[in-house]
Amino acid sequence: MELSGWPVRITCYRLGEKYFCKADNVEPGACLARSVGATKDEAEQSVINRAQEYLARTRRFPA
């Protein structure tokens, strides 16, 4: 998945009655955001929204 021009990996798992999601930025693989929800969709959408917000702040400079 790509968000704000950056590759993002979403990982979800269920623990008991809750769904947990994590978004990382693939390279370097750092965790950007975590979320918890009653459904997988809810948790996934929440983590996507937060990751998108953080990624939009990343500035690119001419190298």
């Binding site: 623990l15 370097p28 950007l32 690119r60 190298a63």
Partner: protein, 287 residues
């Protein structure tokens, strides 16, 4: 296929399953933050917060000796306890903790190969119970600073090229296109890398499941960039945690004798007034 030079510093997830109740073993999760631990962790594992429990919270430094002794003692860790570290982000902060435990001379510390990622992928049990252990006395010797690089050593290495500098950040951070990993706060004034450094991204040392690549693959990865262990090596990244991962690979899996982690890393160098900086392309011989 050759074996790692120090295979004893790694344990598998299955090994951990069989030792969660072993009184001679203490399992500790160290993540980028403590949210993951709170969601669920290996049974009987403690959770350490790297930014408060493994850092001096006033000045920028690792924790002082007395605080380290308190952390270990309060965690029920004796000097002869086998400490198993694991965490998220492919064990970045577990490696950071490993590095500090070695600075303070803990003899038996190991990393769970694959970390939290592999544990979850394999569907292994996650507990939400926080274990309590009776405090014990823990004493350490003076810190071993032979595995830690400070700014003057790095400046000397950059000037004289007598030491190999390895930048383990992403290629985009190395070239100066971005100042921090995408989505994370910019913590430096300038982008680029230390003059003379080679770009060997930490993640090239890992398989998709989070485990380390084989000895032969790791050896080839570094040799392709001219890093063979014949010269001392200093690894750096942004804040020193990714480079502690690479330090672990170079020191223990490849067995290089003189490897240091520069924990000041780019947040120190990239904020220094007047420090020389190189920008632009990754070396042409990149793997």
């Amino acid at each position: 296929m050759s074996e790692y030079v120090h295979p004893e510093v790694l344990v598998s997830t299955d090994w951990v399953v069989n030792h969660t109740s072993d009184s001679k073993v203490r399992i500790v999760e160290v993540d980028v933050d403590t949210k993951a631990y709170n969601e669920g962790h290996v049974s009987n594992a403690l959770g350490w917060a790297w930014n408060t429990q493994l850092c001096d919270t006033v000045r920028r430094d690792i924790i002082p000796k007395a605080q380290f002794e308190t952390l270990m003692g309060d965690s029920g860790i004796k000097n002869d306890t086998t400490v198993i570290l694991y965490g998220d982000n492919n064990n970045w902060f577990a490696a950071w903790a490993f590095w500090q435990l070695k600075i303070y001379g803990h003899s038996d510390v190991r990393i769970m190969n694959g970390g939290r990622k592999k544990w979850i992928t394999e569907g292994k049990y996650l507990s939400v119970d926080v274990p309590r252990f009776s405090p014990v006395a823990y004493k350490t010797s003076d810190p071993d600073l032979s595995i830690r690089a400070f700014l003057p050593q790095v400046q000397e290495a950059s000037r004289r090229a007598t030491v190999e500098l390895v930048d383990v950040r992403s290629p985009q951070e190395f070239t100066g296109e971005i100042l921090s990993p995408p989505g994370l706060p910019e913590t430096c004034q300038r982008g680029g890398h230390i003059p003379g450094a080679r770009s060997i991204t930490w993640s090239k040392a890992c398989n998709d499941d989070g485990t380390f690549r084989t000895f032969d693959e790791l050896k080839a990865l570094y040799q392709n960039e001219g890093i063979s262990g014949t010269k001392p090596v200093i690894a750096y990244c942004r804040i020193g945690e990714r480079s502690s991962h690479s330090w672990f690979v170079l020191k223990y899996l490849l067995g290089f004798s003189d490897v240091k982690n520069y924990d000041g890393s780019w947040t120190e160098w990239g904020n220094l007034v007047g420090a020389p900086i190189e920008r632009g392309a990754v070396s042409a011989v990149s793997a």
